[in-house]
Assembly symmetry: C2
Homo-oligomer: 463 residues x 2
Amino acid sequence: MDARSITDFELYDIVAGGDKEEIESLKEVVLEGWVKTNRDNGSIGFIEFNDGTYFKNVQLVYHKECKDYELLSGLKTGAAIKVVGDVVLTPENKQPFDFFIKEFELEGDVEEDYPLQKKRHSFEFLRDIAHIRPRANTFQAVFRVRSVLSMAIHQFFQERGFIYVHTPLITTNDGEGAGNVFDVITHDTKDPHSFYSQKVNLTVTGQLHVEPFALSFRDVYTFGPAFRAEHSNTTRHASEFWMIEPEIAFADLRDDMNLIEDCVKYCINYILTACPAEMEFFNTMIDKTLFERLNHVVSSEFKVLTYTEGIELLQKAVKEGQKFENSKIEWGMDLQSEHERYLTEQVFKGPLFLINYPKEIKAFYMRQNDDGKTVAACDLLVPAVGELVGGSQREERYDLLKARMDELGLTKGLEWYLDTRRYGGCRHAGFGLGFDRLLMYVTGMSNIRDVQPYPRTSGSIKY
Amino acid sequence: MDARSITDFELYDIVAGGDKEEIESLKEVVLEGWVKTNRDNGSIGFIEFNDGTYFKNVQLVYHKECKDYELLSGLKTGAAIKVVGDVVLTPENKQPFDFFIKEFELEGDVEEDYPLQKKRHSFEFLRDIAHIRPRANTFQAVFRVRSVLSMAIHQFFQERGFIYVHTPLITTNDGEGAGNVFDVITHDTKDPHSFYSQKVNLTVTGQLHVEPFALSFRDVYTFGPAFRAEHSNTTRHASEFWMIEPEIAFADLRDDMNLIEDCVKYCINYILTACPAEMEFFNTMIDKTLFERLNHVVSSEFKVLTYTEGIELLQKAVKEGQKFENSKIEWGMDLQSEHERYLTEQVFKGPLFLINYPKEIKAFYMRQNDDGKTVAACDLLVPAVGELVGGSQREERYDLLKARMDELGLTKGLEWYLDTRRYGGCRHAGFGLGFDRLLMYVTGMSNIRDVQPYPRTSGSIKY
């Protein structure tokens, strides 16, 4: 078999291109991939075939005349095969072409207990076979979009001249001081902390480490893993996840919101363009409102509302009969998802920045507003989800930042962070965007365990 | 100050573009950034200014007539400033233009103990101020190239249709079974392993997790952090580093080597094109052989030599008087850097794949050759460094793989990995490329601590 090798993707691309000569050349070409389904009637057989390079299957056809007919008709779902054959256009059929098999080789057989048989499987079942589920339709779509969305993030920032910074994962600080960290130790039985001569943990945020880079390169971003040892057994929490954390110097909260809006719109447009087959699948099979929702976001101008105004609107709503699980709305409270969704879905019917939160419920590094009560934070709320992005202008004034850190007992070990305010500090801002949640949002997948290759949530770990 | 904001990069870009109208428009524009140096003679002053968006500084000029002359002349190295002014071309000078200051604002002052004063600092000293060193010339160059090289990696693989996979960092296996892992625990004093109900550690490789994705998507890659709790206090070892691990299905060792060669050449060409100023700096200030070395690699056809032939060449060399620290060359030994460098520098004078290593010195998952002694591994050796990439064809035959894993006691917990060989497995291959080492190689920087934003090596951790 010395024929020319080709992929699913290339086949579809050439056929869609419509160049007659190129299509004519698709004779005696080699395909290698996996059997999705196989059926035959004794004289003709059909294999739904996929090599993972494109979302759509190729229909392989084999005839009784083919010397390997018996072997072909015995092929099971999941088998890896290599075939040589010819492409024939089928404008009258649903699929644009068939592939007629001339030669065949079994590359890897599949045993009887193969768990991904041709039938509908629940996501719960598939989670338990994380090493096999990437072959299932839904996960072919999820993980391709995950890859493309990652690239969208990088392109968005790199096109704008941002510097990508690999902030460290092992660190001595716990970011916002929330305490739910994983510690990192070695097998030194005398002193498990001897490796670094001190206690270390996995990072919860790259922000503190990336700020000094913004104060050197102006516009920077991180895109890497972060960890939280939280026992939240919800559909939106994982103990390991990927975060995007841009940081921009000589910028304030308004600049930050502009960047968030541009970034979210860019990502949505990017995947709609780059993954049409997969997005169509999500819109049809996973969430029938997906396209409507995404198109609405892309064409909306994001609104801005202060936290204080938000509280007033919620209090008014409760008075007028709106029911919440928590209907005790008062200034200073941390809004729940139900409140956020009410504001973005019912009141504004579109993406909404909520800004200027009470300082007590936000992180120490956020810039204090002149009212003495609030900080220059912004959360982006979107319909169907609630909070998607959290950002803020950072406190660049040394005295105010130090006072706040002292008050919260966070100064020790972060002197270097404070120093950046004494050495040519400047106004700056940034945000954090959970990559896995963004992926859920743009695909309609409702459980974080179904958008991560090998999800890490509390209670169990496999693989 | 409502004038138009602009960056160093945009200024240089417009001036280099040569469009007269655009250059004329550079009046009353705003620059924001940091003072590198400042000198004046009482009637005219010059500030070397940089905002981090471009490697080259802008010369700001201020005259006695400027109302802020006194303030400007008092500006210290490191101060953050905002200036409004006009660009004037200076074709007779070294720098292509000056920027004449009309208005000025101090954005953030700098205190007397600012450690990055205008003088030459040792890399050792700068390592101790990791939060400040990104402003130093060398590190402006290093971290910009780091960012661009990251993008080069993503573009290389995405252009070829590879799927980017985020393999997990917290895992139950230790990859190749070398044992030098960091364990991950929580603050649960009764059972520090309760969070996942079992012992977990930080990953040493994403390969085992990414193979199932290659067996679903055909061509995939990881690009993420990996960890080794090794006490190697060398210039090439860090306990936390970023790795690139592609995996290709329906591919053998030759396909793997082709991919490695393409990838390395692509990356070098990419940064030479995208970072000319930084690369010029490295070639002038860090390693005067850099361009020669990189151009040589790009224009070379990578050679292939078996391990056995390599041993014979080394034995012959020793006989003829070649001195090594370890001159006892025998089949089965693990080659040292001095041996690898001898082969690539003295014998082949260019990039060289060494293939088919003894199975005892290579990982369990490498495909056994028919000789029963060697495995289908390939290490890419390059002049000045030695090993840059390690790859192999993977053992796809269940029985052989299981026997080898049983022999080494690695089967328990990796049943899922073995399963991929029973469920439509196929020949496949991949490689591992240490991103930080690649960055060292293409910049000429000789210590891994000087190419990582916040290096993590044994003995100490700051930041």
